[in-house]
Symmetry: C2
């Protein structure tokens, strides 16, 4: 389904990105969930779990599976999705370095609520559920960080749900997906320029609308000069116009 991200042409022989040896020296440490732990807690965190590599297409876990492990992405991209009873797919996010998977399900003591599939070869830290819970148990600060991570996850879905409930406009939904994607890639710019590695089908699954509607809306946005598409590179010229479509 997905084209490989084109900046990732290099594969086995020469990894474009150095892989990590341990969590103490991880470059993502300072901006992610388990930054700011006390030294003891961090040391404990570093001690548990194992680092594993996964290839594109690998499934880390599937929706409905009992939670055996908690995952932290060190490097690469993972597609987080969920499927309705009728078989329609919803892509919730593309998780990247520093993202934690399985936390909410582990704490709520329910099966995974989503599926995770590798879309760009990954290095992942895998912790057994119990050893992760022990970490939280023994270090209050780790629990606190977990709670904070959960609040922001909650906020994200909350606003998603609100948008979905109150605005059914397909244009608004697509606009949101594009803006979020663009902002994540090129933050803080007036013009958002990025490589659109997703197909229309996948954009549709992220916005919860149909493939054809995505095609139609994109060409409409182009007609209105709100964005430019050149090959797989997309530039959002007028983010504020797209923003206005959002409820």
């Amino acid at each position: 389904m997905l084209r490989p991200a084109n900046h990732e042409g290099a594969t086995a022989s020469a990894p474009v990105h150095p892989h990590f040896q341990d969590c103490l020296h991880c470059e993502h440490r300072h901006l992610r969930v388990f930054c700011n732990l006390t030294p003891e807690a961090l040391e404990h965190y570093d001690r548990i779990g194992i680092l594993m590599n996964f290839e594109r297409g690998a499934k880390l876990f599937s929706e409905g599976d009992p939670v055996r492990n908690i995952y932290v992405i060190c490097h690469g991209q993972v597609k987080i999705s969920s499927v309705s009873r009728s078989g329609r797919a919803l892509i919730l996010k593309i998780a990247g370095p520093g993202d934690l998977m399985g936390l909410s399900a582990a704490l709520a003591n329910v099966p995974y609520e989503v599926s995770a599939e590798v879309i760009e070869s990954c290095q992942v830290k895998v912790m057994r559920r119990q050893e992760f819970l022990d970490l939280l148990d023994q270090h209050g600060v780790a629990s606190l960080r977990a709670a904070q991570a959960l609040s922001s996850a909650y906020m994200t879905v909350f606003y998603d749900a609100k948008r979905l409930a109150l605005s059914n406009s397909a244009a608004g939904r697509l606009a949101r997906v594009l803006l979020d994607w663009g902002r994540a890639v090129s933050p803080g710019h007036a013009e958002l320029r990025f490589t659109m590695t997703l197909t229309h089908e996948e954009l549709a699954n992220m916005a919860g609308i149909s493939r054809e509607t995505v095609t139609r809306l994109l060409s409409q946005f182009r007609r209105d000069q709100w964005l430019v598409v050149k090959g797989s590179s997309m530039t959002i010229l007028q983010p504020d116009q797209l923003e206005r479509l959002t409820v």
Copy 2:
């Protein structure tokens, strides 16, 4: 908007429900968030915050306000809602005894994401944001409970969002609202019998659909013998049929 819940005819003079003196002896303690704290943590929890009474119509806080306090409902009902830019309202839940309000916003360090309005006179424990955060800081077990509360809040919105994104069927949305409401009131019964204190307008705001559609769907459900309405009492005869409408 809301008719007063009819089991709450008694007002000022003779409270139908005894109010609570402290958190150590609260009858909801065993089934709610801060059950299972260590004795020290529980004692600390009991020590902070103050108990306050609010009348119907009182606003505890509004969406967008900076988080000053965290609230725990001891008794009564609070309407949790959010409004879109275009002014459409979305009622997220009717919170009751044991429910915690403001946790996610406090931890994510953002303004309240929802508004809270009393719809049935309430006794509420109000904690200053900072004293609550201190509690979490000092008692790992409290952080852990908070994290657990957040995971289940997250799970709830997650499934809401999923339903909203994948099924736009008005019938499915309304069915979900009715089932959730009924199950909360008369749990574990094949037939769900309860007092529908909400108007069609409010049901519409909970399901994110229009008032007229609620009216039409309800009479359709009645025609299909899935439920019976008699005055303000509603009985869901065939919950599984309604369940099937849910994606």
